[in-house]
């Protein structure tokens, strides 16, 4: 177990190193930035001073280590597009908005996926089961950005129930949360259904029935409590991938989170900002995956030995 965890941590670190090298290389792909900034006939001493000031006269590997050391301390340099802010400030501001959206998505998945999953398992081959199957299938096939626009059109434009974009009160959060949670609803539904089917087949449920407990009580109290463990652990740790998945939904609803910031940074070729967001997103993603793997290895010993 310890060996597995250490290996997994080393591997996560390796991914982060690879991504940081890519981020660093992309920053240098455009050539020497001084060529663009200084006029052609610039004085050699001015040039040397500036090179000294920005540290571009040092060998590449030294520059890389400085870059990583600064990034680890949360210093990603300055944004070109928003000159008054540092990249770290911009990211910090948007980070909370993205967490909020991802959390709301998980909430949607729980509120819809859990009860529907229970119903599909209890009434097999009924109308509930078929609806559940359709929802699960659509969850895999619907492009979320399109779902977002359709929701916006129906509930924002035609019915005028919710605002179409931006951030404000709870009413701004509902449509993007449904759009981003949709895929998770499908995943939740399948998980709840299969674990409910297992539980419904168990001895203590039979005992509860023999005792003459009301069927409703058996299903929603006895079964669900036991069946919900696996889906809930899955959801607690899916936050990382949900955050990365938020890029397109944030862009659709112009939600001021990290994903929308990434989209805008790409449009305005704001390299420092792009690098910073890429490193932030990758770190979240890699750490989340690491936690998932460790949690699963803890719960399922077979994983450790393969």
């Amino acid at each position: 177990m310890q060996r597995y965890i250490i290996m997994r941590i080393l591997q996560a670190l390796l991914v982060l190193v690879v991504v940081s090298v890519v981020a660093f290389a992309l920053g240098h792909a455009g050539g020497n930035p001084l060529d663009a900034i200084l006029p052609d006939d610039a004085d050699a001493t001015v040039r040397a001073d500036l090179e000294e000031f920005w540290g571009i006269n040092k060998p590449l590997h030294e520059q890389y280590f400085t870059y990583v050391w600064n990034a680890v301390r949360g210093d990603f340099g300055n944004s070109f597009k928003y000159p008054r802010f540092s990249v770290a400030e911009l990211i910090k501001d948007r980070f909370l908005a993205t967490i909020q959206l991802a959390g709301a998505g998980i909430l949607v998945a729980g509120v819809i996926g859990l009860p529907v999953g229970v119903l599909t398992a209890t009434y097999r081959d009924s109308i509930f089961d078929w609806t559940g199957k359709v929802v699960a299938l659509l969850g895999q096939s619907l492009p979320v950005f399109w779902l977002g626009i359709i929701l916006m059109w129906i509930f924002g434009v035609q019915l005028n129930w919710f605002p179409t974009s931006g951030k404000g009160g709870i009413e701004n959060l509902i449509l993007p949360a449904i759009a981003i949670g949709w895929f998770q609803v499908a995943a939740m539904l399948r998980l709840v259904r299969s674990s409910m089917l297992d539980v419904l087949d168990s001895e203590y449920v039979k005992l509860a029935r023999i005792k003459g407990l009301a069927e409703r009580k058996i299903i929603w109290k006895h079964c669900l409590r036991n069946a919900a463990i696996a889906p809930l652990t899955y959801f607690a740790i899916t936050l990382g991938s949900l955050m990365v998945g938020s890029v397109s939904i944030e862009t659709v609803f112009q939600w001021p989170g990290l994903g929308f910031l990434l989209f805008n940074a790409a449009r305005s070729s704001d390299y420092a900002l792009l690098q910073g967001i890429m490193l932030t997103f990758t770190s979240i993603y890699v750490i989340a995956n690491l936690l998932v793997d460790i949690a699963y290895a803890y719960l399922d010993p077979r994983i450790r030995y393969t």
Binding site: Q11, S141, F145, I150, W153, V244
Partner: protein, 292 residues
């Protein structure tokens, strides 16, 4: 001695409609039909079938609602949406097809070689697979496209980067079991080279698995391509691609719902049918891989 036989009712002749309905459920007729109509026919025949030029605008006819002349309406510079959707299927099919072919080739060779040689080479190669699986691909794609400028080549490269490792991991697992079979050692005794064993003895046995995975991945790749195009990291304008069309329609959602609706519907129908077809193919060709 007469024995009372139980009366045998003559078997009821199954109704023709019921028979066809059951057959239709047994074979994925509907998904295949949808794929042919939405993807294949437009992709091959868009030049002749599309009623209008997908690139030529008509400024007198902007934002025309869906009508007999323009079934799917027209967009902000008067281009026919139906023609653009039809040409868009060509882009989707081309990008997804090439990306899946390349990632399948790379991933399969990688997996077979990794399983065949084993040891530290296998270890190293599988760590590479792990790394590529743990990259947040959308983020990487956006950053790369922003730095290098979006193009179809870069889009395909990014899709391959996100896909090849899935084939490698699956193929390696299969190849490991096959490597242990007797006929592999016999082929070696008979003087077959390593390359020959991998190509002629191992590869044919995992071909089905690769085909099933490829079919199941088509839908995913099409959605990924559309998402990247939507985010400006894929196909660039004015080439008609479904993701780009949905993105362009977003700004006009209050006045012209059809701009985003129809290209998105094309994505949905294609991906849905591909997934259904993939499920069916998996049950047919490779029933052990229920968890693919």
């Amino acid at each position: 001695m007469a024995v009372a036989l139980p009366e045998v009712s003559s078997p009821r002749r199954p109704s023709r409609i019921g028979h066809y309905a059951r057959e239709a459920l047994r074979y994925p007729i509907i998904p295949v039909a949808v794929l042919v109509i939405v993807l294949l026919i437009p992709a091959l025949g868009a030049n002749w079938l599309a009623p209008y030029d997908p690139l030529k605008g008509d400024m007198k006819n902007r934002f025309a609602e869906p009508s007999v002349q323009h079934w799917f309406g027209t967009d902000d510079i008067g281009r026919d949406v139906l023609s653009r959707v039809m040409h868009g299927s060509r882009v989707s099919l081309l990008v997804a097809g090439v990306a899946i072919l390349i990632s399948g080739l790379i991933g399969t060779s990688f997996g077979i070689v990794s399983a065949f040689y084993g040891g530290w080479a296998d270890n190293l190669m599988m760590r590479l697979v792990d790394i590529s699986l743990s990259l947040p691909i959308i983020v990487v794609a956006i950053v790369v496209a922003a730095m290098a400028g979006p193009s179809m080549e870069i889009l395909i490269a990014v899709l391959v980067l996100s896909q090849w490792s899935r084939y490698a991991r699956l193929v390696r697992g299969e190849a490991l079991t096959i490597r242990g079979h007797d006929y592999i050692s016999r082929a070696r005794v008979a003087g077959a080279s390593n390359f020959r064993i991998m190509l002629r003895y191992i590869f044919p046995n995992i071909f089905n698995t690769v085909v099933v995975l490829a079919t199941l991945q088509v839908g995913f790749v099409i959605v990924l391509e559309a998402t990247l195009s939507f985010l400006g990291a894929g196909i660039s304008r004015p080439t008609p691609a479904w993701g780009v069309m949905v993105a362009d329609g977003r700004s006009f959602v209050t006045d012209a719902w059809w701009l985003s609706f129809f290209p998105g519907l094309a994505i949905l129908l294609t991906v849905l049918s591909m997934n259904l077809l993939g499920d069916w193919l998996r049950d047919k060709l490779d029933p052990k891989q229920r968890n693919l």
